[in-house]
Symmetry: C2
Subunit: 318 residues, 2 copies
């Protein structure tokens, strides 16, 4: 349904669609590789979508502003939402609220994103991590609609996780950085040093797309089904899911990203059960794990729809 609406919207001039509609929002998925901008409404329908590669902060943010002001015919959003690559500053009392923090992405450390867009459009701006936003979207419109607490994981160039508690993104001291926990080394993977620049063989260093590529020279999906890399990857991701059950206790774990081939799911579910060792006596895990650890329902649109959730929430707060 969402897809159909999106397609309808994309065939029309966004400026036309806005006229006569009470509340339209701007959504920005700010990724390290690409930005996606969209206009959408509270139902999750996207009326216009644009993608462009991430360049330096000034020109990239100028392009975001141009998209809404020029391409969308001087669109006036009820609110904006930004689902941003991290780490990001989410403490509202911080002078740097809405900034990207110290990031390996060249040129982007300490970049003001939220306040800059708020000034430009004179509207509320919702701001969170890309994965917290995707978790919100899957909760509202996707694979987590029947839950209150869930984790959204992306396994691709990096490994990240967003956590929703009682429907709200978890922040706390900062925000989760789930990709950097340390799994136990798989016995058939003891010689690989890992690729994380901070930790070497943390989860991201061992189980991200670049880690698989460094070991095998290939992406996971192109490896033979009998290749040991499938077993290794499933084990590391099973450890991740087990750790999350034990620490965050989600009602569902949603796993997306470029590495998450369909045939990985049954393998990693088995490894999750192995690492939990029967300790969590819940039928959701013991009897229905295929409904507990699931792919996203919104696929690649989870990020921009998450940004739309942030915008809707920012526009209706108080």
């Amino acid at each position: 349904m969402l897809q159909r609406t999106e397609m309808q919207g994309m065939n029309q001039n966004p400026g036309e669609l806005m006229r006569g509609q009470a509340r339209l929002f701007g959504a920005v998925e700010a990724g390290g590789t690409k930005f996606i901008c969209a206009v959408g409404d509270e139902s999750g329908a996207l009326h216009a979508v644009s993608r462009f590669p991430t360049a330096d902060p000034d020109s990239t943010l100028a392009r975001v502003i141009d998209y809404f002001k020029v391409d969308c015919d001087d669109f006036t959003p009820a609110a904006l939402g930004v689902a941003c690559f991290g780490p990001v500053i989410l403490e509202r009392q911080s002078a740097n609220y809405g900034f990207i923090g110290k990031t390996p992405k060249a040129g982007w450390s300490n970049t003001d994103v939220a306040a800059r867009l708020a000034r430009e459009f004179s509207c509320p701006v919702g701001f969170d991590t890309d994965v917290n936003a995707a978790a919100l979207a899957e909760h509202r419109w996707g694979a987590g609609r029947d839950t209150r607490n869930l984790v959204y994981l992306t396994v691709g160039t990096g490994i990240g996780g967003g956590v929703l508690i009682e429907g709200a993104p978890l922040h706390g001291l900062m925000h989760p950085e789930i990709g950097h926990i340390y799994p136990r080394r798989h016995e058939l993977d003891s010689n690989f040093a890992g690729v994380c620049p901070f930790h070497g063989d943390c989860l991201e260093g061992l189980a991200s797309g670049p880690a698989i590529l460094a070991r095998t020279g290939s992406e996971l999906e192109h490896l033979d089904a009998a290749h040991v890399q499938w077993e290794i990857e499933a084990d590391y991701l099973g450890q991740l899911c087990a750790q999350l059950v034990l620490t965050v206790s989600p009602q569902r774990i949603i796993m997306g990203g470029g590495v998450m081939a369909e045939r990985l799911f049954p393998l990693l579910r088995q490894r999750t059960l192995h690492w939990l060792g029967g300790y969590i006596d819940r039928r959701e895990i013991l009897s229905r794990i295929e409904r507990y650890i699931v792919p996203p329902a919104l696929s690649a649109r989870a990020g921009v729809l998450g940004a739309l959730c942030l915008a809707v929430d920012a526009g209706t707060r108080r």
Copy 2:
């Protein structure tokens, strides 16, 4: 201050104290080894406290009821709170809400606790894990007063953790079972199988009091400061704290329990920093970790005061 009030209260007849006071609550810390019952008020003052060993469910719960009805002169609580050893059933829509679930504690699996006490006293009953309750108490009156999100850990006979998010205990699918995550094995501890009946060498299997006793024949605090067990224990607990920073993102970690000797804190804080590898760029961790990972302020009273928090909250809900 709390301690003084408790002492005053314990020298007086609880029945007398209740007269003329508007709202007094019953608090029950239900532990696997001992139960603590108390009468208290919304300020955290305990006016009467009684401890007795945990026996079978029927006689133990009968003793709880007798304490309030007989010892406390037919005390009528505004509400009761039960901080319970687990696992426990916390889903309000479950037919078994307020039960202890499948537990290794002989005879206690599938025991109704909350509904039984609610029927007996005709009052609201707040019910949660012992560690979630202790987290509440430390948040309200102890070492977490200036936070919204915190983790309370106990390292003793077992290892458990309670998580507070925006001041409320985290439940989700069940509740956290933090003690059963798997740390990486310390290189000087590769031959010890671990003592967890479910997992062998999970954290509880490697770093609980019984694990230390199994390795060394001694409690940690009686081992020489140069004994390698200090280093091993600090490393495992440092991994625990690092994992929690990355998954739950607490604003403080409070660590209590019989194993948590004072000299363990600086050692495990260093190991936490080691495992985080500079990735979490927050001054709370990088510059002030001695204020980030701290002992409880309420010491051994965190549990019963947590039960009091549950009672107060149950009595003021809606």
